[in-house]
């Protein structure tokens, strides 16, 4: 099951050229761009691991692309996303967020039901991948220190 999260997620995966343009757009708006990765794709998991600090002082997308490439090389079998943070007053929040890397095989999510008092059903989802310890998910990628 193809994970859809953030912007552009119903489009085909962005090419490097397209990512460059999106990053350049964010930088031109004066937003700080950050790269994050995770192997826990639950939609409510907002704590992805940061790949270095957000890049506050860049003007050209190439610098970000270098970090993106480095992160993808280090974690080819994990989800990687790009964030653009707008620090201006009134926003002070993430303005862009999109996936730029995904594992080759995505097992998807299991729908869990739990029966409560009065036959009330509580629903939740659980990624099949998270059944294994972090670092061994998605094709048993070697464990990383990060």
């Amino acid at each position: 099951m193809r994970l859809t999260q953030g912007q552009f997620s119903f489009l085909p995966d962005l090419t490097d050229e397209e990512i460059t343009k999106q990053v350049q757009y964010a930088l031109d708006q004066g937003w700080a761009v950050a790269v994050e990765f995770t192997d826990d794709p639950h939609p409510r998991n907002s704590y992805w691991t940061m790949w270095g600090n957000p890049m506050f002082d860049l003007r050209d997308a190439k610098g970000v692309m270098m970090e993106i490439d480095a992160c993808r090389t280090a974690h080819p079998e994990q989800y990687v996303k790009v964030l653009a943070f707008d620090s201006s007053y009134g926003f002070e929040t993430v303005r862009m967020s999109y996936l730029i890397n995904r594992p080759a095989v995505e097992p998807g999510f299991e729908l869990l039901r739990s029966e409560g008092p009065g036959r009330r059903i509580g629903y939740t989802v659980r990624s099949y991948a998270t059944g294994r310890p972090s670092g061994e998910r998605y094709g048993g990628e070697a464990r990383h220190g990060a």
Binding site: L58, R59, D60, K62, G63, V64, E67
Partner: protein, 310 residues
């Protein structure tokens, strides 16, 4: 059918061979005008005094890039030329100023994507402990991407007296990026000539990756006077005619003294002259001061310099 294209690219398919003939004439002049380098070069001529060899070299580089662009417009391809440069010269000969202009020029010619210069020295590139240098250098490189990286006093990167110096690591990362990211970054090294020569001798890899060595000559006395005139204008002051003669005297005397730093010495001299002018006006504050007095540097402001008493 274009013969030139056939010669250059014997493997070309008929399709690619046909392409150049679509536009057999290239309007180099139009390219020149739309790139805006004409004004930039002219501005350089007006605002930078002397430096003839430097200006000639910059014109040559501009011509090369313009022709390169014209070639590309008719479908002739070539590796982008390497534009890493080394500026050598004594202090105050305008290396930093020219580097800043270089960014504008290269940007106008479409060689770099952004019109920005990131100016660094050894401290920004080299870390203080093991493992500190690489991230530091990479951060600087990331910041400079798409523009010009100006490394002032570049010879400090290499310290032969300490074989464990981390400068070598920074040099290696720099070399890698200079080679791999040629179309993303132009690196300009600057420094005194003799020290840069030592630096290049011990880093042959660096020497061979730098295509343009530009030497900044010292200024003549007349050029320095012209610079003084431009600087006072820039600071919205005026040299009185006698003050200008005093300035010419000052320059001749100062040039003979040790630690003469060309235009920088002139700037310092002018700053001190401003100080003395302000003091002179302040001492005479009982009288009304005309607007003219406020902007004129008088002869005595310059003559009272230490240079004349020594």
């Amino acid at each position: 059918m274009s013969d030139a294209a056939d010669l250059l690219d014997p493997e070309a398919t008929p399709e690619t061979r046909d392409r150049p003939s679509d536009a057999p004439f290239v309007d180099l002049d139009a390219l020149y005008r739309e790139s805006g380098i004409g004004e930039m070069l002219e501005g350089m001529d007006h605002e930078l005094v002397g430096l003839l060899p430097v200006k000639t070299r910059i014109r040559e580089i501009a011509a090369l890039l313009l022709v390169e662009r014209a070639r590309r417009s008719i479908g002739l391809r070539a590796e982008p030329p390497s534009l890493h440069m080394c500026f050598t010269g004594n202090p105050g000969t305008g290396k930093t100023t020219v580097a800043r202009r270089m960014a504008g020029l290269l940007h106008g010619l479409g060689y770099i994507r952004r019109d920005h210069v990131v100016s660094v020295t050894r401290d920004d590139l080299v870390g203080q402990y093991i493992g500190h240098t690489a991230p530091k250098t990479k951060d600087v490189l990331k910041r400079a991407m798409g523009g010009v990286l100006f490394i002032d006093e570049a010879y400090y990167l290499y310290r032969p007296e300490n074989e464990r110096d981390y400068g070598q690591e920074a040099i290696e990362i720099l070399l890698q990026v200079m080679e791999d990211n040629r179309d993303d970054l132009v690196v300009i090294l600057a420094g005194y000539r003799d020290r840069m020569e030592v630096f290049f001798r011990s880093n042959p890899g660096m020497a061979s990756r730098i295509a343009h060595h530009v030497d900044f000559p010292d200024y003549e006395a007349a050029e320095l006077l012209e610079i003084a005139r431009l600087m006072t204008e820039g600071m919205q002051y005026r040299l009185a005619p006698e003050a200008e003669r005093a300035m010419a005297d000052y320059i001749l005397r100062r040039m003979a003294q040790p630690r003469f730093a060309n235009a920088r010495s002139i700037r310092n001299a002018l700053d001190r002259a401003r100080l003395r002018q302000a003091n002179r006006l302040f001492e005479a504050r009982g009288n009304a001061i005309a607007a003219n007095d406020l902007l004129t540097i008088a002869e005595e402001d310059i003559r009272r310099s230490r240079v004349f008493t020594q």
